[in-house]
């Protein structure tokens, strides 16, 4: 098989639509007779609901209906637990899931209380002001440590001390490692992750067709198949009566995998009730409360080292803010717990976390999904150890790398996919070497930094390592089909939010079938086009669905060759596939087009032989036994103004190993975007809640997404260690850019400002000019 496309920087199939305004996003769906919904949301974080009076809203012209929890009857029920707890001995887990409309109690600002359906969104929002709500406010649970005290209010009346979960995982014996250690370093770390803030907010359009008994839902979801299955169950329909379409989706980054959001429960139900299409589009203010986010963890961590800087063990006890509900189970804190181990040999590890309910929006995975928190802790511990032991920062990392001959490397704890945290493959030292070379590490420290310092400039260098668990199961599938016009259709169940699936899946199929990438039409996220699947999360689309496309295209290739051999009455070995057809090798003119073969595969007369199938198509599935572990090193040189703390990135390098590369251009885009989000998390973005659980900066003017002025040019290099867990050898890359930026910035800023000499450590993320001013002047 030739690989004309696999590995090449192929330009994207989907761009023509996206660049000309012809791509369909959820808010672009316009249907005759459509009603528009607006939700009344709580403006306090914690309260009992005394009454909701909707009659004035109902009376407003243009309003068709107003519903509260009472109107939902038996349809009102808490959402499903999406991810049950992994099989870890001795865990505490108290699942409490979100409700469609608050009934008796409010648990976070923005929780919906009522929905208005009206002729336009303008009228629906007018009517929200007519609804009278009486609430009895309760003290808000905001601070994690206070939440765990006996005297705290409780988010859920039946969950004492707000403990959502407690999980301990360990390997080896940290206690005895600590006794043997030459150095023990203990610190408290705070890591706060923010809101994913895709530029497209969420939205739902539902259309019940009473004559066809068919519900169609357009939704910004990352998991259309699960949404269909769940809606069918809730609404008493069979799955075939529900079609969920995730059309073009304007960025996801994790929170759009969450289901069932209240609006996803209410809008389809209301559409069936009114036998009319209904649209709801989240506005940006709603997005800050109604879409899930990530937030803070507090880690009390300790590292035990030998005199040579080798890690003997790590102990970590941390608190995790899970918000008002925990429908996504333990995924985020488990990722923190597992990813802390990084690319290092940590023979003794003892990690315990407590997930805490608070009166804040729900926490579910956002790009990195807790990995950042763990990476921050281990990378900062190594920086502090390097300083204390007077070992170079790069060298202490090198000394602790898992050696290449140790793979597969079992960390002996359980990962988010319920399997052992085992790294399938990796080779870390070449990644570090390449990063040091590209950033000019030695020269910067020996020459550049002293020279610039002599000029009065505050410049610093940072280097951070990480691994990323990607491409987890259970499975995805794909159907590849040759059309009579010679074009090839590829359908898969996952949704797409900008990852380039229309192109990378086409590249994979194009090489198998000898057609041009532009002749392959990929469909994602339409449950009527492909029935089965799990969704787009955990950097798994390319790995799992990509391999399913490969398997289906391979099987189809065999079908094509078999049929062509029958047509030419020759052996399959004498045939070659290319240029959209099949030819007999060495005989010019003996060619049949794929489209002609497709017609022959569906004859009007004659008999289809037993054991064969009509049509030129194949459906195959792929499920990896466990996730493929990608890895990388980021390096940065920054300059910082010691008075204003304005930060400038002078050079940024990413060296990354995600196995075999399908499309280097698309991969670069994934990494650039991840780094941009990492920079936002490290220095610009913070969700600021007050002691009443009010979010104080719920606008894009106050919650600062990085612009083109804050994100530097990023230099990327790759090493390639193919994954043995899938035939294509690929590992996921979606989250890699975002994961190590926090510790990288902390380290480089410390270096630039000479903070180690002043005994000041940066043990928290996000930083900001204000926060740096506080941290560096307090101890002067």
């Amino acid at each position: 098989m030739t690989t004309r496309y696999f590995g090449a920087p192929v330009r994207r199939n989907e761009d023509a639509k996206l660049l000309s305004g012809r791509a369909l996003f959820v808010d672009d769906v316009e249907l005759p007779g459509m009603l528009h919904a607006a939700f009344l949301r709580s403006n306090v974080a914690h309260a009992r609901v005394r009454s909701i009076e909707v009659s004035a809203a109902m009376a407003r012209p243009g309003v068709v209906a107003v519903y509260t929890a009472e109107d939902l009857g038996d349809y009102w029920r808490p959402g499903p637990l999406l991810v049950p707890p992994p099989p870890i001995a001795g865990i505490t887990f108290n699942p409490r899931t979100q409700v469609p409309l608050a009934k008796d109690k409010i648990r976070h600002v923005g929780e919906p209380l009522a929905v208005v359906l009206a002729q336009s969104r303008y009228l629906a929002e007018d009517a929200l002001a007519d609804i009278v709500v009486e609430l009895d406010p309760l003290p808000a649970v905001v601070d994690l440590e206070q939440a765990l005290s006996e005297s705290s209010a409780t988010v859920h009346d039946d969950v004492s001390k707000n403990i959502a979960a407690r999980v301990r995982q360990s390997r080896g014996d940290y206690g005895s490692a600590r006794i043997r250690a030459d150095h023990v370093i203990a610190r408290r770390f705070l890591y706060d992750h923010g809101a994913s803030s895709p530029i497209e907010t969420r939205g739902v359009v539902a259309n019940w067709d009473g004559r066809a008994n068919q519900l169609t839902v357009w939704d910004t979801t990352q998991a259309p198949v699960f949404l269909r299955n769940g809606l069918a169950g809730m609404l008493g329909l069979s799955e075939r009566q529900v079609r969920v379409i995730a059309p073009f989706v304007g960025g996801g980054f994790g929170p759009k995998i969450m289901l069932f959001y209240p609006e996803e429960v209410i809008i389809p139900w209301a559409s069936m009730r009114h036998n009319r299409p209904i649209k709801w589009i989240e506005d940006r203010l709603e997005h800050f409360f109604a879409t899930t986010q990530e937030r803070g963890q507090t880690h009390d961590a300790e590292i035990a080292l030998g005199a040579d800087g080798r890690i003997l063990g790590v102990k970590d006890v941390f608190l995790h803010d899970t918000g008002a509900y925990n429908p996504y189970g333990l995924t985020v804190p488990i990722n923190s717990q597992c990813t802390l181990l990084g690319p290092y040999v940590i023979p003794n590890y003892d990690s315990t976390f407590t997930a805490v309910f608070t009166n804040k929006p729900i926490v579910t995975p956002y790009r990195g999904a807790g990995r950042q928190h763990g990476v921050f802790v281990i990378e900062r511990l190594l920086d502090i150890a390097a300083e204390e032991l007077k070992i170079d920062r790069a060298e202490i990392r090198r000394r602790n790398f898992i050696p290449p001959e140790a793979f597969p490397y079992n960390n002996e704890i359980i990962y988010q996919d319920f399997t052992a945290l085992s790294y399938d493959s990796g080779n870390y030292e070449p990644i570090l070497d390449k990063a040091l070379e590209l950033i000019g590490y030695k020269d910067f420290i020996a020459n550049e930094q002293p020279r610039l310092r002599a000029e009065g400039r505050h410049v610093g260098i940072g280097i951070a390592c990480y691994v990323e668990g990607t491409g987890i199961g259970p499975y995805e599938g794909a159907k590849v089909q040759v059309q009579a016009n010679g074009k090839v259709n590829v359908a898969t169940g996952i949704g797409t939010q900008g990852q380039g699936h229309f192109t990378v899946f086409a590249q994979i199929a194009a090489d198998q079938l000898g057609v041009a990438v532009t002749d392959i039409d990929v469909v994602t996220g339409d449950t009527d086009q492909f029935y089965w699947g799990a969704g787009t999360f955990a950097s798994r689309g390319a790995v799992v669905a990509g391999n399913a496309v490969n398997e289906a295209a391979k099987a189809l290739r065999h079908k094509v060759l078999r049929l062509a051999a029958e047509h030419f009455e020759c052996a399959e070995e004498d045939l070659e596939i290319n240029e959209g057809g099949v030819s007999i090798v060495g005989i010019p003119g003996k060619t049949i087009k794929l489209g002609e073969l497709a017609l022959k595969a569906n004859p009007m007369r004659g008999a289809v032989r037993p054991g064969t199938e009509p049509g030129l198509e194949s459906t195959q599935y792929f499920g990896p036994p466990s996730g493929a572990t990608a890895s990388g090193v980021h390096a940065v040189i920054i300059a910082i103004d010691p008075d204003t703390f304005a930060l400038e990135v002078l050079k940024y390098v990413v060296v990354h190993d995600c196995g075999t590369i399908i499309n280097p251009l698309i991969l670069a885009g994934q990494i650039h975007g991840g780094v941009a989000q990492g920079i936002g998390n490290a220095f610009y973005e913070q969700l600021v809640f007050d002691s009443d659980g009010q979010l104080l900066n719920a606008s894009l003017a106050d919650y600062l997404l990085p612009s083109a002025l804050e994100v530097p040019r990023i230099e990327i290099a790759h090493t390639v260690t193919p994954s043995p867990l899938n035939p294509l050898g690929i590992k996921g890359a979606g989250e890699a850019g975002a994961i190590p930026v926090g510790p990288l910035f902390a380290q480089a800023i410390e270096d630039a400002l000479g903070l180690p000499d002043r005994k000041i450590e940066l043990l928290e993320i996000p930083l900001s000019p204000n926060r740096l001013f506080e941290l560096t002047t307090r101890t002067l």
């Binding site: 920087p9 330009r11 994207r12 989907e14 761009d15 023509a16 639509k17 996206l18 660049l19 000309s20 305004g21 012809r22 791509a23 996003f25 808010d27 672009d28 316009e30 012209p61 243009g62 303008y122 009228l123 994913s196 803030s197 895709p198 530029i199 497209e200 907010t201 073009f248 989706v249 304007g250 960025g251 980054f253 506005d283 940006r284 939010q497 900008g498 990852q499 380039g500 251009l665 698309i666 670069a668 885009g669 990494i671 650039h672 975007g673 991840g674 780094v675 941009a676 989000q677 606008s699 894009l700 003017a701 997404l705 612009s707 083109a708 002025l709 994100v711 040019r713 990023i714 850019g737």
Partner: protein
């Protein structure tokens, strides 16, 4: 308020539309839902993200901060009117594809319109000026680098076309 309507005439992408609109109707909603030109996207409705940027007469403006009635008697260009014909790309569109400046594509129409207006005013640009001009448009996917590359490529192409 509900019966506060105005008759407006707006030229959009070279075609005149006459409509009766409520005075509070946003230009973004008018374009998207009344004229069914859904290529203009709405990301924040408070003038920060820039996704809804269109060209009003010669200036790039936020259509979410503009009322439809303000466009009365004016000329609007949206992403649907950027290329000379539906089968063609404007050099900016071409370069955005070549440089992989598009991921989810939601912010893309606003970026195209901002850059179109920018390049009308500034025929010669370096990276710093491009980044400054781009800073009014938020993109959450690309990290901007490939967009900057695309704008540079488009500038070159437009210059060689002009010559």
């Amino acid at each position: 308020m509900a019966d506060d309507f105005h008759d407006i005439a707006v030229i959009v992408n070279g075609k005149e539309y006459r409509r009766r609109v409520e005075s509070r109707l946003l230009l973004s909603d008018f374009l998207r839902h009344d004229l069914l030109l859904a290529g203009t996207h709405v990301g924040c409705e408070h003038g920060v993200c820039g996704a809804c940027t269109i060209i009003l007469d010669d200036a790039a403006v936020r259509s979410c901060l503009t009322l439809a009635v303000q466009a009365d008697g004016h000329s609007v260009m949206t992403v649907e009117g950027l290329a000379d014909s539906p089968d063609e790309f404007h050099p900016l569109q071409h370069a955005m594809r070549e440089c992989h400046g598009v991921q989810c594509g939601f912010c893309t129409p606003g970026i195209l319109m901002s850059m179109k207006a920018f390049l009308n005013d500034v025929p010669s640009v370096d990276e710093a000026r491009i980044r400054e001009a781009l800073s009014g448009n938020l993109c959450r996917c690309t990290g901007y680098q490939h967009i900057v590359d695309a704008v540079r490529m488009a500038v070159e192409r437009m210059r060689s076309q002009a010559e």
